[in-house]
Amino acid sequence: MAFFLSFAFWACDTIKEEDIKQNKRIVGGNTKPDDGGDDVVVKKTVVLEDFTGVRCVNCPKAAEVAHSLKTLYGEQLILIEMHPASLKSLTKPAASGDADLSCDEASEYAAEWAISSLPQGLVSRKQASGKYMAPELWSGAVAEAMAEEPIVGIKGSAKKEATSIKVDISANFVLDYKEAVNVLCFVLEDGFSVTQKSGEGDLKDYKHNHVFRKRIESDKWGVSLLSSATKGETATYSASVDIDAAWNVDNLNVVVLLCSASTHEILQAKNIKVE
């Protein structure tokens, strides 16, 4: 009894107001992204997949979190807006005439990670209580992922051809990696202006950028790039995708993801403007 009572008084950590915030530091946008591993130091690029919807009233707040992180980390952070078509009541257009941002391939990932409510996010697809996490946790997860040492640099191009987009990349490993690596290319589109539901009512002409439109590879986990990699090794990959009539080609980007073939964690990523 005495043991339990003494425990009662001690098993509670009180954090004083002045001790809540620790390790204050200045941060800012990094305008010098991964250089492809030629000469200078390769920098870690982190991917935030934001599962969102135009009918989700809490999603604009999550988007604010994502954008503030983007301001903080610049091109070292790649944002991807995922609008799963399967969560129709949250992702179908909120006003008639609006573009439909949802897609079935986003639904495949939502199903894989058991995402049934929005907003949720994944940071470089790392394991964290069911993989997805609420927006309040994104900043910490991004900070942790950003602190990791990059193992590979990516450089490449995405060229617009007559009816398709051709992607060519080379991956330059700066560290050994003992496991298999897959490559995956996502087509993202910027520049949508649609009605967005929010806690303050309908927001007209709300901007949606980096919206996931299509995966170039047929398999959701991509195709094999290497079974393992050694420091200094370079691997190349090419792929192409037909241009969909619904896309505005001037607003397209291709995001290249290099992932662990076993855990699907994103090891490195590169955003390439379609030109």
Binding site: A11, D13, V27, L90, S139
Partner: protein, 546 residues
């Protein structure tokens, strides 16, 4: 007696009991009601519980299989296994459980571990529990363990609870007609610290901070109950230490909750008045968890749990971040032999409840309310805000007209802040009328007609529902119903939700087969809710116990 025969005799005293439940559904795509395509077409949830008791010892285990989880259940349940098993010794003074167990301290506002399959919820504790009853009237419980989180375990919970029934162990009080009980609890959660970074901009510079996360979060509560000559008065006050979570927006304000109930009852009349103030009292095994999972405690909703379908379209669940609620419940039976009471008497039930936001104030003029990494806000207990979450005022009259015919009429007025409760939608104001009539004939036969109507200018607007049930006691049950959204603004959405169901009961086995449309909505039990997706198809349910 040989050792073998002694063993055989002991074993022969053992009792094996258990139950089985299988729910399954064949899904049909129904784009009109929003029932999505289900690739597997068929899904089922199965449970089997076995318990072996021999004298003071009990062993138990529950198998669960989700192939795949039925729509509305979290996909993380997928799979099969034995997530619940225990060994228990129930002595006269000491009762010890090792393994999984369910437990509740007081009202549950500090600790409640329970299971409700309708909600897809099971937060059993895996660990050890000791219940000590040193003398009559004193019960002390100690628990340590982790909460179930689908197929894993989450957090580390330590708790102690003491309950004193004064009349039982203080001799001079034994003959009092006034009964007094006192109690107290302490619960602590351990979770390893983690990196939570927030950013703040000052002028042109952006700063990042790491938030310190408390590894041990303590909470304590006291309670009392008094009963005397038909009157009852009980209450519980709970406090929780700083606990920044995703749910509360990473604020460090300690939480508190107060629940008060006052009642009086005598033959034919009863009144219960309740009041509740909840201030930042969400308590979870994992600070990152949201939804109905990982909850250490249970915060009751002060509202009537309606059973009629349309009356429970917009049910209410307590808002753990902050809420003030009041409820009045009155029951009166008009005596038989009077004009209004008739030959059998008339029951009148009046119920009214309201829940509002807690009136939150800034901690200082510079800091916005609920800013992450601060103490969040200031609020007094029972500080009512003008932001209404929920209002329900209803009256129900039940009257038996003859030996064969009885009826119930209910009127309900509801206000429901859908945006706060469900995270989307609008502020709904609805009028609901229900008529429920039963005609019994040929001894074992009964026909029941249920008519329900909702009028509202919000959401999906007006609804009408009719149900006809036929019961051939005690084995057979048949039901046909249709719910019609005739007032929907969009003509194409004025849909019918037809539903037919048949059930057969034999001893302790019940099997039911149903077919029809299920409307997308929210299902609640005890103030905890889950989203129910729209579906269409054939459902099978089988339960049996032995």
């Amino acid at each position: 007696m040989s050792a073998q025969s002694k063993f055989d005799e002991v074993m022969s005293r053992g009792v094996l009991s258990g139950n089985v439940q299988i729910d399954a559904q064949m899904y049909q795509t129904d784009s009109l009601i929003g029932a999505e395509k289900v690739d597997e077409k068929f899904r089922s949830n199965s449970y089997a519980y076995l318990q072996y008791t021999n004298g003071k010892f009990t062993l138990g285990a529950r198998f669960e299989g989700y192939f795949k989880p039925m729509l509305g259940y979290d996909a993380r349940y997928e799979g099969a296994g034995v997530p619940y098993y225990f060994a228990r010794f129930s002595g006269d003074i000491v009762d010890v459980t090792l393994g999984n167990f369910y437990e509740q301290f007081g009202s549950g506002m500090l600790l409640r571990s329970y299971q409700d399959w309708n909600l897809g919820l099971d937060n059993s504790i895996f660990g050890a529990r000791a219940i000590v009853t040193p003398i009559d009237g004193i019960v002390i419980k100690g628990v340590v363990g982790s909460y179930r989180h689908f197929w894993e375990k989450q957090g580390l919970i330590r708790g102690i609870d003491a309950d004193f029934s004064l009349n039982d162990f203080i001799k001079p009080m034994r003959d009092w007609e006034t009964r007094i009980r006192l109690g107290g609890s302490f619960v602590s959660k351990y979770q390893a610290a983690q990196t939570w970074t927030i950013t703040e901009t000052e002028g042109d510079t952006t700063y990042a901070y790491d938030l310190a996360t408390p590894q041990n979060v303590g909470s304590a509560g006291v309670r009392f109950a008094l009963e005397s000559h038909g009157f009852s008065f009980n209450g519980e006050y709970d406090w929780k230490g700083n606990d920044p979570t995703v749910e509360n927006g990473q604020i460090y304000k300690p939480g508190q909750a107060l629940l008060l109930n006052m009642g009086y009852s005598r033959r034919g009349f009863g009144v219960l008045l309740s009041a509740k103030s909840v201030d930042n009292m969400g308590f979870r095994a994992d600070r990152s968890e949201t939804g109905n999972y990982g909850m250490i405690n249970y915060l009751p909703a002060l509202s009537r749990q309606h059973t009629y379908s349309i009356a429970s379209f917009y049910p209410y669940a307590c808002q753990p971040n902050g809420e003030v609620g009041f409820q009045a419940d009155i029951f009166y039976k008009i005596k038989k032999g009077t004009v209004l009471g008739g030959k059998y008497g008339t029951d009148i039930k009046l119920n009214a409840s309201v829940a509002t936001a807690l009136n939150e104030k800034q901690i200082n003029p510079e800091t916005p309310i609920r800013k992450a990494g601060t103490y969040g806000y200031r609020a007094n207990i029972f500080a009512v805000s003008d932001s209404i979450y929920f209002v329900d005022a209803n009256i129900e009259l039940s009257h038996k007209f003859s030996k064969h015919f009885k009826g119930t009429l209910m009127y309900m007025y509801e206000q429901y802040n859908q945006e706060v409760v469900e995270g989307h939608g609008e502020f709904i104001k609805a009028h609901i009328v229900v008529g429920d009539f039963t005609y019994m004939f040929l001894k074992k036969h009964a026909l029941r007609l249920e008519l329900q109507y909702m009028h509202t200018k919000q959401a999906e607007r007006d609804w009408l529902m009719a149900t006809l049930e036929y019961t051939l006691a005690p084995k057979w049950f048949l039901s046909v119903s249709d719910m019609w959204n005739f007032g929907n603004e969009i003509k194409e959405q004025r849909l019918h939700y037809y539903y037919v169901s048949a059930a057969y009961v034999h001893d302790a086995m019940r099997v039911s087969l149903s077919y029809g449309r299920i409307r997308k909505g929210i299902m609640c039990a005890g103030g905890v809710c889950r989203e129910l997706p729209a579906s269409n198809g054939l459902m099978l349910s089988l339960t049996s116990s032995f």
